[in-house]
Amino acid sequence: MKDYAELCVTSNFTFLTGASHPEELITRAAQLGLAAIAITDRNSVAGVVRAWTALKEMKRSQAEEDTPIVPRDMPLPKFIAGCRLVLTDSPVEWLALPTDVAAWSRLTRLLSLGKGRAPKGECHLGSRDLQEWGRGMILIALPPDPLESGCSHADLRAMGHRFPGFCYLGVAPRYDGRDPLRFDHLERIAHKTCLPMTAVGDVLMHRAARRPLVDVLTCLRIGCTIDDIGLNRLTNGERRLKAGAEMARLFQHHPAAIRRTMDIADRCGFDLGHLRGQYPDEEQDGEPAQDRLERLVREGGIWRYPDGLPPKIAARVETELRLIAELEYAPYFLTVRDIVSFARSKGILCQGRGSAANSVICYLLGITEVQPGSITLIFERFISKERGEPPDIDVDFEHERREEVIQWIYKKYGREHAGLTATVIRFQSRAAIREVGKVMGLSQDVLARMTGLMWGSSSKGPGIGELRAAGLDPNDRRVGLTARLIGEIIGFPRHLSQHVGGFVITQGRLDELCPIENAAMKDRTVIEWNKDDIDSLDLMKVDVLGLGMLTCIRKAFKLLKDHRGLELTLDSFRPDDDPDAPPVYDMLCRADAVGVFQVESRAQMNFLPRMQPRDLYDLICEVAIVRPGPIQGGMVQPFLNRRQKRESVEDLGPELMEVLKGTYGIPLFQEQAMQIAVIAAGFTPAEADHLRRSLATFRRMGTIHRFRDRFITGMLQNGYDPDFAARCFAQIEGFADYGFPESHAASFARLVYISAWIKCHHPAVFTCALLNSQPMGFYGPAQLVRDARDHGVEVLPVSVNHSEWDCTLEACGDGELALRLGLRQIKGMKEEDAEQIAKFRGNGYPDVESLWLRAGIKPEILERLAEADAFVTIGVGRRDALWAARALRSPGMLPLFGADGEGVDEPKVILPTMTLGQEVIEDYLSMRLSLRAHPLEILRRRLPESMVHERLSVMNGRVSVTGLVITRQRPATASGVIFLTLEDETGTSNIVVWRRIYERYRNAIIGGRLLRVTGRIEREGQVVHVIAEKIEDLSLMLANISGPGRIAGNGPPQPSARHPREQAKRLFPSRDFH
């Protein structure tokens, strides 16, 4: 076997060009026995960390496993991180391979420079930039094909002079019958320019079988169908990774070019593992970080425990501080503290979570509100020396004010030192079907049908059943090809986007670590690597996330202060010993939780009455258990049975019971699952954590079963039940993406309690704050308002003489607060207009025109107000107001001729009055809610067979219910079961649709807005479900509520006269969750 290093490989991180994942390329390179492989994407290093991680994983597998991915005697290739620089002012492309860390830093700075100049996703660099920054990199020139176009060699020569000894001329075989000729040409150029010739493969794919995919990607890039691709296609599959022997055969007359690749590979001494994110030292006024941290912790101790630290806590603080000092993590904690205290100073609510938040120090520093006593603090989870992983704290902020925090971070550290992490947007099944189908020439009709059959964002290609359902013949060659290509392209990166809030901060320049580019959003800069990459490289990051509920809580606190004189903060709640806590838990036990954080989802609402939470720890379990991890692991039912004492807690031995005693022997939290891996399956803590963090990589490389086998064998050897072992592993798998660590669940549970407290004791305040924080949560304004009214809150309609932009509270005669809907509820209203209306209101507007004259509100806005019936408080009905507003619209109207001026009075016009149905429809059209009546109330007499929701609880057997669809959920964990929530004038009913029924009534379920469901009643505790047997779509009836008029009965040429059901869809939106 000949030694050869492949130095030019384009992975699929050169979007829409490369056709193999970096992991696949590395694995293939190892199988081929290459000495080294470089990943060189076009002006990007986004894929290098993936490749590096994959190589690390292969090394680990060789060292530790019995059946490694690559046989143990095979040497693994060396990995070289590089980049292919495409310049704007020269046809010559350069492969840049850094030889040391300094050169890497120059490369990333060069890329940052180019990206900073260009819009998102592009990079503008010139030869001059490369000359300036290229020191220390191996530069391999890839000139345009000398057989096709003559090109001046000035660029090559200039670069060779600038960096003597570092520049090479890359020669790639094309397999078009002219390779010998080409090589000779290039050799002459090499002699002329004094750049030694080196062989490169110019690889696009790891195997020739990816050639069709390359062509499809090319079509996507240039925007054509496969039949029009013409000469842009790949003529042959030779741009694949090749073994050394084959390259040597191609270059048989130029053996030096092959040998030189080995020299170059040897010179590239840079390894991504050398990168160390120097974290900011966080010194302040000459006070070293550790001292400052200790001082702040002491101060925090006095603040949190005015009576002095309990001895247990004090001891724990000592150990934590010692560990932090040892690992030099003090700056990280200080960063988070500073961010949090900035937010505090601005009155922005925030709350920390994450593994490192699981500590007393974070409580003392004010990062979290979770009292150390309330949860089990597992010290290993905090930070561990062995794992060598950086601490991890996420901080949630109010979603409306997070941008302030982000900009503060940019300002404090500077854009060279702080950047958001990226998120790789990948092809999901819908996009894959749409785009590949288009390239393959399937018609829009067929594609729409195919994507329509996929629910949500699944990651599978279309199966035979789906193809048939879309009217395609799966045996047709072209259809088969299309389906295969769709399957292949799913998971391919498509572009980089910004992560929701992961910040990487460094002491030195961040752009010396990794390229920074502009984000699509103004004033944001993003690095090229995503969360997993940052984790793999052990860089420290702070997650600055937005949480709608915090916004809502802050607004509620403000309202409570204004109207009730209550001064509340997040830490003023004591969920376990508040005197007013019992009613809060009573409310939650009744599943009366519309709008309450986390537990308002359908699954949680079902779970609440069974769980019967009575204290904060119950809420913590509640939050953690209704998650994909525990559900996949089948932990829910045993947990409930044991909690309700219907099943005894099985004894798993003292060690495990120590870990699991709080949760009845059932692992609910991430750290518990990890500890099972350690205690029961014999993993080292480092391995267990590695397993959790690398699950995504394992899945891509298809090596997950190795871990499963090892885990389960380990547990069996230690005498555990195979069933329990399987469940534990399933749960670890689930945790990888969605699991909650305990401290995280605890932080959330506090918010559950706080929001439930507000809802329970101040329902008007709660609804008002929720409406003002929309959009958030599961329910729309209509459901929130309705829930408030069910709780006895008086809700007042929108009024030009009373409403502000936000919803407000008004005192009623009996001292209760009434909720006044704000102008924000009106569709198409702008905040400035609302402010104008409030500002010039004075003693109130007497008529429609006065709004126009005094507040300067445009007639179009007046029409919107009229449509929302906002003038009803001044005695002007909807149509009359519209009539008046319309008059102001005509051009050239001067106030002189209006009612105030000298104009003659207009003849009185009598407009037809509206029916209740019309009013309701207009309310929904304008505000998506109505205070007048529920649409079902109007329809009720036409639905004699349907049960009113109220009576469901006393019924048995088969019933029919009819209602508006509020939510549709198909949880990934519920194997195809769909949950519908139907609302009628008395309440909401829960419908369960099994897969079989769903298949039969698919259209009604997906498209219907008003459904009649017939089925069996099923009861579990207080929760009543209807198991659907027959589903009818009655959406047409909604259209007829208003009688002839706005919705139906207009002639066909009018665009607003849609199909009634479509109209209904716009009127009565549902929130769909997948």
């Binding site: 096709e148 050639r211 005509s890 037809p912």
Partner: protein, 444 residues
């Protein structure tokens, strides 16, 4: 109709329509063809009224003043029209009313007849959208609860004008017949046909040619007036025994020059059997194209000469048999060109081609036998032996994977350029996946 019964409406977004009716079959609208179809219906409708005009993109308006009694009354006229259209398989909706506006509204909302003098009552129940007032105004009226024309007609006018502009009142007046609105029929499209009746039957070829020339000159003038040229011409010769002989010729480019066209008829006229003589002739240019007047110059244009050649060959062999090669975008040798009828395509110069050289002559692969060596040192092709002087290659071409070409089922091909000692420079390929050699071209 079936689609409407399912709840689909015009103006609905396609995605919505699909959501309602997933099995919907759609075709993109072909507006020029629809307009042409409407014009054909307009011609047909001329049997009911002298003045028929297009009304919107989907309707016709006919002024039937003074006509109904010929059909036995308005009702009978409408029945007759419906019956005839139904016979032709066309569904129509019609209305007869005293004003154009009322007829428009009624035809689009149910159809029927409004008797004289009952105009106001007749349209009162129709939606305001029938007034030809645009969506914006109609929407505004509906929002105010004024959904029917009757609601509108009884309101004071001044406030309405203030809010909706004078256009609304104009349309209302037109519908109520208080403002007149004539039907303006558009001019007929020109008809490029000429005829000649002969005083005596003729039978001599020269006589027929002379008459044809006269017809052609007449037609040429007519074509010139409209700046058109003929692409296809049909000559009908009516014989005394009531037989009609039809001769059709095609032209490779639009033309109206009588002499050059006449020349193309000559050969076909030779075969005509005049029987007892021809008493009438009709010439019709049924396919025409734009042909703006050109400056006359004596040197014949290269293009024109070629086109005349195509015309001559085409009329003799059939136009589809006169073909030319056009370049195609494919690196598969067999598909690097396409054949296309010469008269209906434009010559294209081959775009500058990059990549390896291609032979001058490409033919379907032919087997090469007695091959020795790789690349071949000696081989036989077309029953002759060759010895290789120099071989260049291989150029590897993989099949176009999306296209199942039987010729390429043998997989990838490695092409070699081989200079032979015998002289010819040949293009061979080897199929490594089904080892064999074949010859596909010859270099100059």
């Amino acid at each position: 109709m079936i689609a409407e019964a399912q709840g689909l409406r015009r103006g609905m977004p396609l995605a919505d329509a699909r959501a309602i009716c997933p099995r919907l079959v759609t075709h993109p609208a072909d507006l020029p063809r629809e307009a042409a179809g409407l014009m054909a219906l307009r011609r047909f409708t001329l049997r009911y009224a002298p003045l028929v005009a297009k009304d919107g993109s989907d309707g016709l308006i006919a002024d039937i003043s003074g006509v109904p009694h010929l059909f036995g009354g308005e009702e009978a006229l409408r029945d007759d029209l419906h019956a005839r259209f139904a016979g032709a398989g066309i569904t129509v909706e019609t209305a007869i009313a005293g004003s154009r506006g009322a007829a428009f509204a009624l035809a689009r909302h149910g159809g029927g007849i409004i008797p004289d003098g009952a105009l106001k009552r007749g349209i009162a129940a129709l939606p305001v959208a029938g007034l030809r007032i645009g969506h914006e105004i109609a929407g505004g009226l509906i929002r105010l609860g004024l959904t029917r024309i009757g609601d509108l007609a009884c309101q004071p006018r001044a406030p309405l004008v203030r809010r909706f502009g004078p256009g609304l009142m104009m349309r209302l007046d037109q519908a109520l017949g208080e403002r007149s609105e004539p039907v303006a029929a558009e001019p007929e499209a020109p008809h490029f046909g000429v005829r000649m009746t002969l005083p005596e039957p003729i039978g001599l070829q020269a006589d027929v040619m002379a008459s044809l020339l006269r017809l052609l000159k007449q037609l040429g003038r007519k074509l010139a007036r409209h700046e058109m040229g003929a692409r296809r011409l049909r000559l009908e010769l009516m014989r005394v025994d009531r037989e009609t002989i039809r001769i059709e010729i095609g032209l490779a480019r639009p033309m109206r020059d009588p002499f050059r066209i006449a020349a193309l008829f000559t050969r076909k006229l030779e075969e005509v059997d005049a029987g007892f003589g021809i008493e009438a002739m009709r010439l019709h240019a049924h396919v025409t194209e734009n042909l703006p007047p050109e400056q006359i110059d004596d040197t014949p244009d290269q293009e024109d000469v070629l086109a005349d050649l195509f015309s001559r060959l085409g009329n003799r062999l059939g136009f589809q048999h006169v073909q030319r090669l056009l370049p195609a975008d494919s690196d598969i040798p067999e598909r690097s060109f396409t054949l296309s009828a010469a008269a209906y395509s434009q010559a294209e110069t081959r775009p500058l081609r990059y990549g390896p050289p291609r032979p001058v002559i490409i033919f379907p692969p032919e087997p090469v036998t007695a091959v020795s060596g790789h690349p071949p040192v000696r081989f036989r092709w077309r029953r002759r032996g060759y010895t290789t002087l120099r071989a260049t290659g291989p150029e590897r071409i993989a099949p176009e994977w999306w296209f199942d070409d039987p010729a390429w089922r043998s997989g990838i091909r490695d092409y070699w350029r081989i200079e032979t000692r015998q002289g010819p420079r040949l293009w061979l390929f080897h199929t490594p996946q089904a080892p064999a050699w074949a010859m596909q071209g010859e270099f100059a």
